[in-house]
């Protein structure tokens, strides 16, 4: 997601700063799309966590006589799937899975990315070069090709899918962090820390990393979006999370063959994915503007 997004109107007043009324937070709040995104995600999370408890149907209950009921036609609000399971219940349960996959994969990929990036940026030289060439090599694989190749390695389950997605999406983070650390390293405070005899680990993670947090937060948000998308891609291609556990991606698997007779099978989960991913991208965009240090200096 390397899109250059224009900054929001630069009307940033230089009012006195308190911690919770910082310009960054105000800038984020002024970014209407980001607020919309945040609200949508909050709503989705609440619905997925509490929704299934309020529904009369279980997401795995099979009722073969009720198969292919269209939405709004009976007691199943959003209709049923080829096994007669309630789609709304499945969408909400799938949301739990897909969102958790998104967040967990993000966490893992950020962790890997930070470690590789910090080490490469701090040590530079041979270690740094070797690490960054490895990053470059990984980026030579188009992401789907890499996802598919690695998916052959694993037995599909929720944790392994998280790992799979994380393994293919840490490289951008590593690059961003490496660049930040490399430039921060020469700044006064870092030089000062070295002269005070701080250990390398301390300098890397206590002094340098906190100063690189802004781009990491942005990358993290975008990585959630990426992970949800990636999950849907591998599921669509048949290598994803296994039934009966629903995910937005595996609900779409096989939906193409019912496109004429039961289009809602394809439309609904896809719409959920698009909504979630768009929201995360909006938030990421808002965060980028909010945390942009150039705006801060104005």
């Amino acid at each position: 997601m390397s899109v250059v997004t224009p900054t929001s109107p630069q009307a940033v007043a230089s009012s006195p700063r308190s911690r919770w009324n910082s310009p960054a937070i105000r800038r984020f709040r002024r970014h209407k799309l980001a607020v919309f995104g945040a609200a949508t995600i909050t709503l989705m999370v609440v619905a997925c966590v509490f929704g299934p408890m309020l529904l009369p149907y279980n997401d795995t209950y099979i009722d073969i006589r009720q198969r292919f009921a269209p939405p709004f036609s009976g007691s199943h609000i959003l209709g049923t799937d080829p096994l007669g399971r309630d789609i709304l219940a499945r969408l909400l349960m799938a949301g739990r899975i897909s969102l958790s996959v998104g967040f967990s994969a993000m966490a893992v990929s950020i962790a890997i990315g930070i470690c590789v990036g910090v080490i490469a940026g701090f040590y530079q030289g041979v270690v740094g070069a070797a690490l960054m060439r490895f990053v470059d090599a990984m980026l030579c694989f188009p992401s789907i090709f890499l996802l598919l190749a690695i998916s052959a390695l694993i037995e599909p389950s929720v944790p392994s899918i998280v790992l799979l997605i994380a393994m293919t999406s840490w490289m951008e983070v590593a690059r961003v962090v490496e660049a930040q650390i490399r430039s921060l390293r020469t700044r006064d405070f870092a030089v000062a820390a070295v002269s005070m005899g701080a250990s390398n680990t301390r300098i890397m993670f206590r002094e340098l990393l906190p100063n690189a947090i802004a781009p990491i937060v942005v990358a993290a948000t975008l990585n959630v979006a990426h992970a949800i998308l990636a999950e849907s891609y591998i599921s669509f291609l048949g290598y994803g999370i296994q039934p009966p556990t629903p995910s937005w991606g595996n609900m779409l698997e096989g939906a193409q063959s019912y496109l004429t007779s039961a289009p809602w099978l394809a439309i609904l989960p896809g719409a959920a994915i698009t909504l979630a991913v768009t929201s995360f991208n909006f938030i990421g965009d808002g965060l980028r503007d909010a945390l942009d240090p150039r705006l801060d200096q104005r």
């Binding site: 073969i64 052959a152 296994q242 039934p243 096989g254 193409q256 063959s257």
Partner: protein
């Protein structure tokens, strides 16, 4: 038979050969063989005669791409569409299982003297005047070369079953060949029916037959000549005007690769594709497809049986009672009727219904959760935590695996899971991509329980020994495909005898008995016999589903368009 060819008008009109065969098989099965291929009724339903010269073209839609063109090398079902059209074998298996001579003058038997010394000496006389597509004459040398190539150390041949028993191949004349067998092996006749002969004068000149140019543009003696291949898209054949058999009546054949079954069906509906074999039409379009005008939908039986394959070494399955309880609580009817739209038929046997060795008198399956619960109660499996049964400290639980991305199978799996939970069995679904599941996981018996569609025979011979014999367990050093690790002395003995006798009546008795044992012991839980929906355009004559071939374009040479 009537329900097998539900067309728009209820019955097939353009399949006279099949009706004739039915009629013939009523009178005497033996006569059918002499009728040969492409036999068309002269009377009865008004079927137009074939054209005098090849005319028109047929587009065959395939959801997999044929890629392996050397018929002696490894290939899958779609590849055989190419093999049976471009090549010929010594004899072919007709729909009723009789073998009909093709490159040979007669099928050797103990009666005609072709097989003697109790099955150890074989002599085959070959048809004269047959030429390869490049004009070179076909001789016994080609047959010898083909049989030897299969056994050549470096050659990646598909299967050596049967061939490995062949010794001392002697060319007795340009059109006569003989060899000896290490031991009597009746399934070899059927194995040869599925072994196409390749040209010696071309392949022997290649540096390495594995990578010969021939493998990319094959030359055979079949009804069609190889014309062109557009990889990822299509393959074109043209009529072989010098074909030795019946036909060809079509000027050309196009094998069109359309990787998506829905898209394939759409093109059949619009008429761009004339024939959809093998994977056929998705079952959810069955209703709609039968209503199309100008199209027929045939429920074409296949030799593959959908089964639950337990690993008998897994603690949950060692006991027969468990297998019986699982079988009783399997809602086969719901699976077949709802998920598969009632297209395939539930079965009790591992053998396809159309085989001469099929035993129709096996006990009928009854879906009963109560009965299943009773069986388990009696066997001492007690309900424990969360309602899961236990016995001697072992919980009744296993992982059920199948290929990922096969939506129908996954649905079937979840349906069974719901039933089995009711009898106190805990199931975990553990699906994998095809390349993983059918790898070591399958052949080294690492699975706990599989949902699989597979064939239990030797090539097209009904001998099930490679799948059921106790010396066919790979993980115990065997060489067959007994991946469930079934050991049964009685079945072993019967199957040995079945291989050694050429008397079909006796073999039939033997295989009936084997089926009874399998039904009782349940080393596999049979669900249904595969029956893909094959679509065919009206006016295309010659289609005959054939359980003894691996695909139903096997007799393409005798197909033609009604005018």
């Amino acid at each position: 038979m009537s329900d097998r060819f539900k067309g728009k008008s209820g019955f097939e009109l353009a399949m006279p050969a099949l009706r004739r065969r039915d009629f013939l098989s009523l009178s005497a099965a033996g006569i059918a063989a002499s009728v040969g291929f492409g036999a068309r009724a002269q009377s009865g339903t008004a079927v137009p005669p074939p054209p005098k010269a090849p005319k028109g073209q047929v587009v065959i839609g395939l959801s997999q791409e044929p890629k392996s063109f050397n018929p002696l090398m490894p290939g899958v079902e779609v590849d055989e569409v190419v093999w049976t059209s471009v090549f010929s074998s010594l004899w072919m298996a007709a729909p009723d299982g009789t073998l009909v001579p093709d490159l040979a003058v007669a099928v050797p038997s103990e009666e005609n003297g072709g097989i003697s010394e109790g099955g150890l000496a074989w002599t085959v006389k070959l048809r004269e005047g047959v030429v390869w597509h490049d004009g070179a004459p076909f001789t016994a040398e080609d047959v010898k070369y083909s049989l030897e190539l299969i056994m050549a150390p470096g050659f990646k041949s598909r299967t050596r079953v049967g061939h490995e028993l062949v010794r001392d191949i002697v060319v007795k004349g340009p059109h006569e060949i003989s060899w000896r067998m290490e031991r009597a092996f009746a399934p070899y006749l059927a194995q040869l029916a599925n072994t196409q002969i390749v040209p010696k004068h071309i392949l022997s000149k290649a540096e390495d037959p594995n990578t010969a140019a021939f493998n990319g543009s094959p030359i055979g003696t079949g009804p069609f000549r190889w014309s062109e291949r557009r990889p990822g898209d299509s393959i074109t054949f043209v009529a072989n005007e010098r074909y030795h058999g019946d036909g060809p009546y079509l000027e050309g054949v196009v094998l069109k690769y359309i990787p998506d079954m829905t898209a394939l069906y759409a093109q059949f509906r619009t008429g761009q594709v004339d024939f959809v074999p093998i994977s056929g039409i998705p079952a959810n379009y069955y209703e709609e497809a039968t209503k199309l005008s100008g199209r027929k939908v045939a429920v074409a039986p296949s030799g593959n049986i959908e089964v639950i394959m337990p690993n008998l070494e897994h603690p949950a399955f060692t006991e027969k009672a468990v297998r019986q309880a699982l079988y009783a609580s399997m809602n086969k009817e719901a699976i077949v009727d709802a998920l598969y739209y009632g297209v395939p038929k539930p079965t009790e046997s591992y053998s396809p219904r159309e085989s001469w060795a099929f035993n129709p008198n096996l006990p009928k399956h009854e879906y009963s959760i109560d009965k299943a619960n009773k069986i388990l109660d009696e066997a001492g499996w007690k309900r424990a935590g969360r309602g899961i049964r236990e016995k001697n400290g072992k919980r009744l639980e296993f992982a059920l695996s199948t290929t990922t991305g096969n939506a129908l199978r996954e649905q079937c799996q979840q349906l069974m899971m719901q039933d089995w939970q009711q009898i106190g069995v805990s199931i975990k679904i553990n699906n994998m991509p095809g390349a993983v599941i059918w790898g070591d996981f399958y052949v080294r018996s690492q699975f706990e329980c599989l949902l699989v569609g597979t064939a239990f025979r030797t090539g097209v011979d009904p001998d099930p020994a490679p799948r059921f014999a106790s010396d066919a367990i790979p993980v115990k050093g065997g060489s067959g495909g007994n991946y469930m690790q079934w050991v049964n002395a009685e079945a072993d003995k019967l199957m040995k005898e079945g291989q050694a006798t050429f008397n079909q009546e006796r073999r039939k008795e033997i295989y009936f008995k084997v089926q009874e044992i399998v039904r009782e012991e349940l080393p596999i839980l049979p669900i249904f016999q595969y029956a893909p929906l094959e679509g065919i355009k009206d006016g295309l004559i010659g289609y005959q589903p054939n359980i003894n071939q691996r695909q139903n374009a096997w007799n393409l040479g005798s197909w033609y368009w009604a005018r």
